[in-house]
């Protein structure tokens, strides 16, 4: 620690005047912070110094992550429409009981809060289809982009471009393409077909919700898989080639196992993101037709903000349940990645 501080205090030897000024300023700043840091170190001991450096981040997380989680839990056990926790009456587990009161968890209509369970069902359906499609298409795209094809850099940029767009913009573009008088129906009718009302049929609406989400985010996961593919040593493939191993066997026995850590990261990230999905689907389908694409987060948003009686308590309880699911998923991710690493 002391050495580090001393090394920062060394005179600047920059190649240019600008660099010298920058280094000089940095040194001046270090000299300014040096005495108080030494004083703190004398006071609490060198072994506790790392916590001093962690403190700013802890405060940041505490204020913007843990405090809101705590407030959310308070909301979930209080009722009424008041915004300040001190003005809200304690209702215990009433909201949780309401959400979990079901004749059968497989039949949303038998539940007291049927819209929550419809949201859960839709989110599960979305998650399953999105995970399969996302991993499959990202993997295929990464495999293709890893080959020495012409315009490889261009295609890598093209596939990544949608990731840079706002989810709302993505949804609005696709809404424009898919609506009754949209681009796709214009193409269909020009080709002699009939218009399809994509947002009126539950199957089509869910299909497009998954499709648009895959289209928008595939580039990001492709990049992760591409990085994994490029990290696989070339000599392994060369050895397989010398042995005359067939391409499918190379993929199955070499590429997939060596890519597994990256695939695992992709799987868990896609899973967590799917469970949290809201903005794209909400703008694209509005949760319809009926409630066919209404996800859990939309239910929470509607309950808390869109109704005349803004039921923050019920929405808070639903958020806590959703948070618990995400927490379990994150633990699974940690468990799997650590097991793999060990």
């Amino acid at each position: 620690m002391t050495d580090t501080i001393r090394s920062h205090g060394a005179p600047a030897r920059g190649p240019s005047a600008a660099a010298a000024v920058t280094t000089g300023s940095a040194n001046a700043l270090m000299r300014l912070t040096d005495p108080p840091m030494r004083a703190v170190q004398r006071l609490i001991g060198a072994s506790r110094m790392p916590y001093v450096f962690l403190l700013p981040n802890l405060v940041f997380f505490g204020l913007f992550v843990f405090l809101p989680i705590g407030i959310n839990i308070v909301f979930s056990v209080t009722g009424g429409t008041a915004l300040f926790p001190s003005e809200r009456p304690y209702v215990g587990a009433e909201h949780y009981a309401r959400l979990l009161d079901c004749g059968s968890y497989l039949e949303a209509a038998s539940c007291r809060e049927d819209l929550f369970w419809r949201g859960v069902g839709n989110t599960l359906t979305f998650t399953v289809f999105q995970m399969v499609a996302m991993v499959l298409f990202s993997l295929v795209t990464a495999l293709v982009l890893n080959r020495p094809i012409r315009g490889r850099g261009f295609f890598r940029a093209v596939y990544f471009f949608p990731v840079l767009l706002s989810p709302v913009v993505v949804a609005l573009i696709w809404k424009w393409i898919l609506q009754r008088d949209g681009l796709l129906n214009a193409v269909l009718t020009t080709a002699g077909g009939e218009k399809i009302l994509f947002f009126v049929d539950p199957g089509w609406a869910m299909f497009w919700a998954v499709f648009v989400s895959v289209w928008a985010h595939m580039g990001f996961y492709t990049l992760i898989l591409l990085a994994g593919l490029q990290a696989i040593p070339r000599d392994v493939y060369e050895a397989a080639e010398m042995d005359g191993t067939r391409p499918w066997r190379v993929f199955h026995r070499i590429t997939l196992p060596l890519l597994w850590p990256n695939l695992l990261v992709v799987l868990v990230l896609v899973l967590i993101r799917s469970v949290q999905v809201f903005d794209e689907v909400f703008v694209l389908t509005g949760g319809g037709p009926g409630t066919a694409t209404m996800m859990v987060v939309q239910y929470i948003y509607t309950t808390a903000f869109a109704n005349q009686v803004q039921n923050f308590g019920l929405a808070g309880a639903a958020s806590v349940l959703l948070g618990a699911v995400l927490f379990v998923l994150t633990l699974i991710q940690l468990f799997l990645t650590r097991r793999r690493a060990s």
């Binding site: 009424g80 009754r180 009302l197 009926g290 409630t291 509607t302 109704n307 005349q308 803004q310 039921n311």
Partner: protein, 425 residues
């Protein structure tokens, strides 16, 4: 040192006129359907010229922000000085009574009296929280050109909903229009139909009963119309929950034969349709109970979050004055929410003959509104019922649930939300 001196001299020179002309800034949260934001801006600049001590900032926001963001702001004790709102009953607890700050409370009672009751908390009969920037009345627009092209006779003045549905379907079939009948996906619009079918939304034994025989008749009509193709699922079925979905774009594109909406659409149809086709407003069709639509509207109200009640009162006095209000209604093509002006009539100089005729139809409709419709509009729980109705009937339309189940869900949704609202510390 020299820099400090320069900065002080600049601050000083700026500070002298500021001290001489201390200004109070008032913020208004405002949404627009048509040109009303533009017109309001003009009026506010004139007010500022006469009242140099007041500066007004008109924050123009989407309607969704008025419905969803403003209530949260107000609940947290934040908010602008004034806002243009439609959920008057729901926001009544947050509205400021400017009675002590207006010049002539009797003028307000005389000209805005019936509508002031919509803005008051239950039990209060004296508060003056604001004035109606527009009175709206639900009612249908008809594409006359499509009727002429199809060679179908238009139903007469006292035609029923069923008459119009049959005629509109015949027209749509002949001219290949995708929307024979379109209703805004709005509980308020649904209740226009429901009141004519005899819906009461009455309290029985201290408990609100949203689903009665009239409500059921209206709900069945809507569901049957979707089944028979009179209404397209694209409006009521395509989105979920309480989401609003209008058919104004479809009407402007001549895809709708009969469009149940309301007076506030007149200005934008006048501006955007032009002479592309002939459109008219017709009286609200009749049901077994009456031929009433639903009243509604938007009010500019003072909010308790304001720390300048005197200036807010002065501004409202100016805007609600007969002369200024008359100009506002005339330029925006709004039905007046001012009793005196409604009696005198508004000269809509900028309106085309089509728009003027439509405004005449809506103006006449105000006189035919059923008292039940006024009571429902003024009920503090009306939006709870509207939202529950639209959310659950939307599910029936796409086949997710049955009408009987929807009735039970509407009743339980309403009861649960009212119970939640009553919970206090």
């Amino acid at each position: 040192m020299a820099g400090c001196a320069l900065a002080l001299s600049v601050l000083g020179s700026a500070g002298v006129p500021a001290l001489a002309q201390a200004q109070t800034t008032l913020r208004i949260m405002w949404y627009s359907d048509g040109n009303e934001g533009e017109v309001m801006n003009d009026l506010l600049r004139r007010f500022e010229e006469k009242n140099k001590d007041v500066k007004i900032v008109l924050d123009q926001v989407p309607f969704k922000a008025i419905n969803e963001t403003l209530p949260v702001q107000l609940a947290s004790g934040q908010g602008p000085d004034l806002a243009r709102i439609t959920d008057m009953g729901g926001l009544a607890p947050y509205l400021m009574d400017v009675r002590p700050h207006v010049k002539d409370a009797a003028y307000w009672e005389q000209n805005y009296g019936p509508f002031l009751q919509w803005m008051r908390v239950p039990g209060n009969t004296t508060a003056i929280p604001g004035y109606m920037t527009q009175l709206t009345v639900t009612g249908p627009f008809v594409n006359k050109t499509l009727f002429e092209q199809a060679g179908v006779a238009m139903p007469g003045a006292n035609a029923t909903w069923e008459d119009w549905a049959k005629a509109a379907k015949a027209v749509a079939d002949k001219v290949q229009a995708p929307f024979p009948v379109a209703f805004d996906r709005s509980g308020h619009r649904f209740f226009g139909l429901a009141v004519s079918q005899g819906a009461q939304m009455a309290e029985v034994g201290g408990e609100l009963k949203p689903v009665d025989d009239g409500f059921k008749r209206a709900a069945k009509l809507v569901v049957d119309w979707h089944k028979s193709g009179v209404m397209s699922k694209e409006l009521w079925g395509a989105v979920s929950g309480t989401a609003y979905r209008g058919a104004n774009e479809e009407f402007k594109n001549a895809q709708v034969v009969f469009y149940e909406s309301g007076s506030w659409q007149t200005a934008q149809f006048d501006k955007t349709i032009g002479d592309a086709f002939d459109w008219i407003a017709v009286p609200t069709p009749c049901g077994p109970a009456n031929c009433s639509g639903m009243p509604g509207g938007a009010a500019l109200v003072a909010l308790k979050t304001s720390s300048h009640p005197a200036e807010v009162g002065r501004l409202l006095d100016y805007l609600a004055s007969e002369e200024v209000a008359a100009e506002f209604y005339a330029r925006t093509l709004f039905v007046p929410g001012h009793i005196g002006l409604a009696k005198k009539g508004i000269a809509y100089k900028s309106a085309s003959p089509q728009a003027a005729a439509a405004l005449k139809v809506f103006g006449d409709a105000v006189g035919k509104l059923d008292p039940v419709a006024y009571r429902i509009q003024g009920d503090p729980s009306s939006r709870i019922v509207f939202n529950a109705a639209i959310s659950r009937l939307g599910q029936v339309v796409v086949g997710e649930t049955t009408l009987d189940d929807a009735y039970q869900r509407i009743a339980s949704d309403v009861a649960q939300q009212i119970a939640e609202r009553k919970k206090k510390q």
